[in-house]
Symmetry: C2
Subunit: 719 residues, 2 copies
Amino acid sequence: MREGPMLQTTAVDALPGQDTLARMFSPRSIAIIGASSAMHKIGAVPLAHLVRHGYRGKIFPVNPNAGEILGLRAYPDVKSIGEPVDLVVVAVPAAVAGAAVEEAAAAGARSAVIFTSGYAEIGPEGARAQEQLAEIARRYGMPILGPNCLGFMNVRERLYATFSPVPFAGLVEAGNVGMVSQSGAFAAYAYSLARERGVPLSYWISTGNQCSVDVAACIEWLADDPHTSVIMAYLEGCRDGEALKRALSRAREAGKPVVVTKVGRTDSGARAAASHTAALAGNDAIYDALFRQYDAIRALTIDDFFNFGHALSVLGRRPAGQRLGVLTVSGGVGALMADAAEESGLSLPELPPEAQDAIVERVPFAGPKNPVDVTGQVTTEPDLLDFAGELMGRSGCYDSLVVFLAAAGLSDTLWPQFLDRIMRTRQRVPEIVMAICTLMPPDQRKPLEDAGVLVFDDPTAAIRTLGAISRPPAPSAVCNAAPPDVGLLAAIQRTSEFTEAQALGLLRQAGFPVVDHVSCDSADDACRALEKFGGPVVVKLQSPDVLHKSDIGGVKLGLRTPEEVRRAFEEIVTSARTHAPDARIEGALVAPMVRDGVECILGLHIDPVFGPVVMVGLGGVMVEVLRDVSFRLAPFDHATAHEMIASLKGKDLLHGARGRPKADVSALADALVRLSQIGAAAQEHVRSIEINPFLVLAEGLGAVAVDAVIECAEQETKP
Amino acid sequence: MREGPMLQTTAVDALPGQDTLARMFSPRSIAIIGASSAMHKIGAVPLAHLVRHGYRGKIFPVNPNAGEILGLRAYPDVKSIGEPVDLVVVAVPAAVAGAAVEEAAAAGARSAVIFTSGYAEIGPEGARAQEQLAEIARRYGMPILGPNCLGFMNVRERLYATFSPVPFAGLVEAGNVGMVSQSGAFAAYAYSLARERGVPLSYWISTGNQCSVDVAACIEWLADDPHTSVIMAYLEGCRDGEALKRALSRAREAGKPVVVTKVGRTDSGARAAASHTAALAGNDAIYDALFRQYDAIRALTIDDFFNFGHALSVLGRRPAGQRLGVLTVSGGVGALMADAAEESGLSLPELPPEAQDAIVERVPFAGPKNPVDVTGQVTTEPDLLDFAGELMGRSGCYDSLVVFLAAAGLSDTLWPQFLDRIMRTRQRVPEIVMAICTLMPPDQRKPLEDAGVLVFDDPTAAIRTLGAISRPPAPSAVCNAAPPDVGLLAAIQRTSEFTEAQALGLLRQAGFPVVDHVSCDSADDACRALEKFGGPVVVKLQSPDVLHKSDIGGVKLGLRTPEEVRRAFEEIVTSARTHAPDARIEGALVAPMVRDGVECILGLHIDPVFGPVVMVGLGGVMVEVLRDVSFRLAPFDHATAHEMIASLKGKDLLHGARGRPKADVSALADALVRLSQIGAAAQEHVRSIEINPFLVLAEGLGAVAVDAVIECAEQETKP
């Protein structure tokens, strides 16, 4: 809680490897530069922690003005220690910290954590000083945590390389949750929360200004750490998208769920985050796509951040699926949980009829379907609990079972009987995830949690948690892009502005479905095009200088006769000359009218942090009024494209809503995959591609781009 | 927790008045029929509570087989007591309960609470027995709580007319929150929650099968009770909408906020509620409208139910408005709160520049706008808290101030200083609602709450709570309907099926804007209509037997010449004869084409519980794919109509989205008000009215119904 706001302005070029981080996070020796026994000094706190809590490695206080501190010999500098230390803790002012770090590195120190503030968070001068720290880290291959961070703890090894006083108020239990936070204030708060809620930690890490080790590097380290099975990460921004993708991939490969809170979701939040950090907050929808594609579980509140992390810590796994059974002693609360389940993406399959009959036979007034309401009768017949629980568990209908027991957990007489019944059910149906909702003193949760049973106070929190951790894995993070036609890239490198015809032509070359069209220099050409297409056509102005053709009368629709086409061509050209006298006019494009498709918008843009990103939305109202769009990082495969489409609120429009035929969703998915491949291949050259409208025809008839705009990357990135 | 599922199948005809309820809820004497000292009997529990917790009125155990129970003289029956008692508690089996209640009533008992189960919840036979209880209540004017309920408590008077054992585990504090629950299981759970969370109760009431006293009657009683200032109500269904409206109105007039949880929101939830209760769950959107129009605060989770109720209990009022100031020691958590604020309908005005300067002068790294981030610096300079708090409070920019202090509440050294600073701020800016978020032992909240300061563990819960309780009052519950033209009612009474022309004609008569139109019996008539309108027209089949004209080719659009109109008329009639040979065909309707309006759907339907309800939605995709509609109980005023429109997700369509002119929203609001008045006046005769499309033209140009369907009420309700 002592640090100022966090800033990161220095590039993380060379991410520290796992072996160097092992020295940092599990050091055999620690030097504390600025060690002190005066507890108001930040150098006093880590030393006090290490001594008091029984760290077993070597501790070297470094302070030129002291012979001995807390009974340990003090050294005037790191060199005098006489052996290379695994970790140097830097707790001296910024004016001398840089020199101290350099000296330590020269003396063979293998890693450093810098508490000192006064770097990038105070402005350009601090940013330069921070860049010098980053340079030392790179030059010596010595990972640095911080500056301006709270440090870290290795809970199992009783290693407290932090000046946060929070451990003095009580230690968190050692366990399987690795916690990393970009914010120190949040990290301190989270430590207390973990202790109060009984979430056992392996590591606790605050990354601060991230001059060398960032949140991604910590996630990657925790993914390989044998003592960690769940990772909780608090993120304010990210400047190295590839590192974060790599870290999340590593965690997924290791089978370790990552629960993440990323602040700055809405406009206000993003404003607050931006004024707080210099980090590029990125577009929140892109973070959502990233977390989805890499199977990170996003929590929108601190309460859920801990609910999700704690549940995964207790379970050691995710539920096998999304089918939820609800067992309740109150029909009303059962209904409330059913509401919450539907909103959390869980399904509530009914119990098979034989099992329903068995329940009604025991309790005639029971609700036997799902929720199964055994009513207050359980207070006189506690075995109803395992009777119903086992019936539900053995039915094969459920992946998780949530049991609402009201305030039974507070009853001295009732609870021991209930606990016994719950444990029995746990043993009989071990494959089902079980969650108990009851009011209960925190210390009584232990036997349940030790048996892998989740415990919640609030039934809605239980459901929300099961919903979040039960979400099925993303189809696959990425797919390898089939290289699109090189002609596309060559063309993009040659030109920086495209007419519609050129844009459509390039997309077609790259294997993207576009409407048939002809570029016409004259009204005669246009009439020949009409003859070729043999049906009603559209005539559109072509000019690299006019983006919004319709606004200046540059589009004429539904033309059937040569006369209509000729008049349209002439009117368009005249209108353009009047309204945009300086525009280069390159004739008109003639294309057949495409009818009856579902109008979509497809977009590609190159995000500065995460690279190519593809967007899909349903045209018109859905995008413009409701912003109903879906994003994914490119490239991706068909399953991802289908999931992306399925996440649109208006998706029913593609599935035959309003009496229309079902649309060719496969063709839409094909196009999205193709666009994602184009994005991956052309990300150096393109800034954005917008295809609007993209018409999805009836099933089996495909889909076509009717108009497209390609925006090129800045000139300096071109040869 | 002992009761079976709750059912209510008996009509509540004569609601008990406030004076008779006063005898029930604050009795001077109580008889317990079925009193016992054997604690496994439900008649033993209330007696034990009354004796143990020191109830000061007279207690008369009634049990023919005992001379004395718990030191009190026992009576063989109520009559033998020799004086009329204020309250009779019935704890004997259903087989004898009815006779006991009748006997008690005959002996002058002024009210009864019946624990006994075995009534409507077990089926038709039980429902008949329950009807007999209701009949006794009506005949003697004696209110009955139950049957099949947990009873009630008057916490201040230590009156425990309940067989729930929950008070044995500890008593709830006496205070200003009246709690009423339809479900007994929930009521017992809620009692424990209130105790654990420190929510002080005036009354705790479980209504069970509601044969005479329902949740609405309890709300109405609590609205007039001088000891209650906040009402918390848990509702599963409602069969008397007028009573609930009256109760909520009464609470609003008395300035007492009502926090309500109504289960059965989504499909699954409603299913669970329906299998649990026989109550008509009603349409959840209608409950939402009711709660909004009557200023009840709906909580979707039990956690929020208590968060909202507790906050109002502490504050004794709602915040003056929706402007939130956030003061934080962590920029990241500030951003998280800003996210939540936006989603909760709160605004985050920036601090004025002078105040910002003053903050940055104290803490150069501070975030000075809003959230105001004073950083971890407060740990060394605790006066930053009241310095910033007072600046924010005095700025006039905020109605509420939320302060995030991480885990400071757990620190023995820090917290006393912070508490002092918070109290100081509280005194300096008493008009601002203050909420503190910090981890804190529950017993330390008291001094803050006594000073009217809210305390939360979780920052998002704090924001959600402030958002819910800060929502501005609804414009006005109802407005008096200007009686629509009686011709409408007469016509509806005469006819039960309407063609489009008749429906439009009736609506016009009732002062509702409809498109100009002519009913035509022949093609010649239709051509004359074209001449009259002088522009492109639409020709539509008229038949009381064909609801979906378009499906059988019964609509022809954009006809400009007499030839086109003649052909259209003939084709329509021919097509109808082919596709619907049995339909009565009453010619065609000719109307001018209305262009460029925003398409809406307006609906009226008569809800069996709540009466006339008006719906508005934006036409096409918005309604059919996204179900983007808004409901209000009719009749209502213009302000309500505008609020209703503003709650549509797609409302931007009416405000000039997609380059269109702004639509005539006032005309839409006028039409909604008019439809609500028609609904109120014609509710006996109409079942539903659907106006689709209703076209809202550009600002100043009005709006018109283009098609309408009127469905009449069942024949038996007509003369």
